[in-house]
Symmetry: C2
Subunit: 229 residues, 2 copies
DNA sequence: GAGTGGTCTAGACCACGCC
DNA sequence: GCGTGGTCTAGACCACTCG
């Protein structure tokens, strides 16, 4: 039974974690490895490529592959749609539209979305509930210059996230996470005290090099983003 | 000139973003695609496999590949070593050890690290500065049962993170991000007011199914974690 | 059972990056 | 130059899963 690329990957990772191959040291070439594992070079290549993608090793032509000195650690967080996040926990989802308006973009937003003076945006404030308690506060701004159909869309029954996904299926996004303090309004909506620390996610969605929408999601008190690797 | 896997990937992604292939729709099989692009199936396979890894499409044997209904979005955040993070911004790095002790693990930590009663831990409190201002507060607990050499290690000159990386090169980690309010001590160390919202990262590092170390990193006021995709 | 993706092979050519 | 990884090919067998 020949070694699969998973076998090879596991074995190499093992040698690294057990300290047989130390950080900074040179790993044998693909041809050598192919011989020792009794497999084709392509198979070894796939194992090594994945290890490189995961930040475990560093590869360079001519010089070969090395164990990274400082493991380049990356954490992958899923970016869930609130509704799914809540429903996957077996809770009932409820949505409420708090406010909806079409206005000229305020200056701070104009800068963010690279809008011209006078450009109009749709501004929405929504709340997402899990089992009846506030889960997430959504402050959404949609660029009407790029997405004019957002002016007449109806967000009273379901949130803008799902609507937007049907309009711009895929896009590039900038996500930023920070801590913020609850102001009076947030405190009321999220059922906490003013000043309470809250986790906030900001997201700018771009499409064809234009920013289509900007959203500020404030999570319920105590919310955590967790991941393993 | 034959199509590379990148060409194919870009082209398919284009069809999806332009809406030619709508969410939920079936994508041609690998053999069909290989023919249309004039390449081998392995090449198409790589393109499709990467699109699946990135959460753009969904693949199932027999039924084929489909454009995901809700793009499974994942954000990858780099988990930097504070020192590197600071130095990459062109700031000078300074480290200070605030407190160091070896104690019996408190109950809350025993639960977290799955320690037996009476097991001892090394507890360290450190500060990391960028250009002289407080950048990050580190509250570190090291399992001395698993890592006895931590008892005699010297952390007065450099932080435990770098030392730990030399001891346990690779490991699995659980990361959790939340917002917290500054207490008196944190406020003093991070130069902010008590009650200020702060971004906190908690990390449990496991090795051979044992938790080796737990750390609570509290970032300076206003700190953001940002990523793009 | 049959279709689709998952993986492997043996061989080939290319491109980068060190000397 | 020349060694190493990066990629492609043509063909093959396998494994999952749907009907």
């Amino acid at each position: 039974m020949p070694a699969t690329y998973r076998d090879i990957k596991t074995d190499i990772l093992g040698k690294i974690t057990r300290g047989e191959w130390k950080p900074g040291s040179l790993i044998p070439g693909e041809l050598d490895l192919a011989e020792t594992y009794g497999s084709a070079r392509a198979t070894v290549n796939r194992a090594m490529r994945e290890l490189a993608d995961e930040g475990i090793i560093e590869r360079k032509r001519k010089s070969g592959s090395r164990v990274r000195l400082t493991p380049l650690r990356q954490a992958r967080f899923d970016i869930p749609v609130v509704r799914h996040e809540i429903e996957e926990q077996g809770r009932s989802y409820r949505y409420a539209l708090i406010r909806s308006e079409v206005i000229a973009a305020p200056d701070w937003l104009r800068a963010r979305l690279a809008l011209a003076p006078g450009d109009r945006v749709r501004h929405l404030v929504c709340l997402h509930f899990g089992d009846g308690t506030p889960w997430q506060h959504e402050d959404r701004w949609i660029n009407l210059t790029l997405l004019p159909q957002a002016e007449s869309a109806d967000f009273s029954a379901s949130g803008p996230t799902e609507w937007l996904m049907s309009q711009i299926p895929f896009s590039s996004v900038e996500i930023s996470i920070a801590a913020t303090a609850a102001d009076e309004v947030l405190a009321q909506h999220l059922d906490c005290a003013p000043g309470d620390p809250l986790l906030m996610t900001e997201r700018s969605t771009r499409w064809n090099d234009q920013t289509v929408t900007y959203v500020r999601l404030v999570h319920r008190p105590g919310h955590r983003m967790t991941t393993r690797y």
